[in-house]
Amino acid sequence: MTLYLMCFALLLIGIYGIIVKRDLVKIIIASGIMGYASNLLLILFAYRKGGIYPILEKGKDMTGRVMVDPLPQALVLTSIVIELGITAMLIALAIRIFEKYKTFDITKIRRLKG
C-alpha cells in the first residue's frame, strides 16, 4: 500500500505543477510527471510476487513459476510512445507562443489577449 500511495503522491505533485506554475516549460514538465505516475501505477498493479518477465525462453523450466500480468504492460507500452508525441506537440505550441509574445509566462500571455 505504501508504494501505491507514493505513486499517487507523484501524480498529485504533477497536478500541483500544472495548476500553480506560471512557466510553460514547467507545465510541460509537470504533465510529463503525471504521465510517469499513471504508467507506474498501472505496472505496480500488474506485479505478482515472485513473478518473472512474460517472455518465453528456449529450454527454461517454467514449473512452479508464475509470470507477471502482461496486459497492463501492453497498454503502457503504447501509452509511453503517445506521450512522446504529445510532448513534441506541447513543445511546438510553447515555441509558437514564445515567438508571438516573447515570454513563457502564462499570466503575461493572458494579459495581452491575442
Partner: protein, 149 residues
Amino acid sequence: MKQQPGLTLIAKTVTRISVWLIVLYGFYIIFHGHLTPGGGFAGGVVIALAFLNVMLAYGHETVTRWLNISFMHDLEPSAGALFLTMGILGIALGGGFLANVVHRGTLFNVFSSGNILVLNIIIGVKVAMGLFVVVWSLAIFRFFEGGDK
C-alpha cells in the same frame, strides 16, 4: 579553419563511425521484437535517436542536404496506411479484421509468429520517421526565428 555548423571534428568522426551501429541496433530490436524485449516502438525510437545524433553533430543544414526529408515525411503516413492494409487483407483472406495472413513459423525462429513481425517493421518505420520529422521541424523553425533577432 572555417567555422562549420555543428560540433567539433572529434564529435563528427565518432558520430560517423557509431551512427551505423546505432541504426543496426535499432533494426535488431525491431526484427527480434517477438522473441526478446523490444519491438517496433523501441526500435523506432532508437533509429530516430540515431538520426538525431547526426543532426546534433553536423547541424540541421547538413542533414537537410544529406537526407530526403520529404520522402521521410511521406513514409510516415504510408506506414499507417500499410497497417490498415494489413488489417483489410485479413478480412479479404478470411478471418476478421487484422487476422493473421502470414504463415506462422515455429516458435523461437526469427521468421515466425506471422503478422507480428510485419506489423513490428511497419510500426518501427512509422515511429522513427514521425519522431525524426518532428525534431527536424523544431530545428528548422529555430533557424527561421533566429533571423529577425
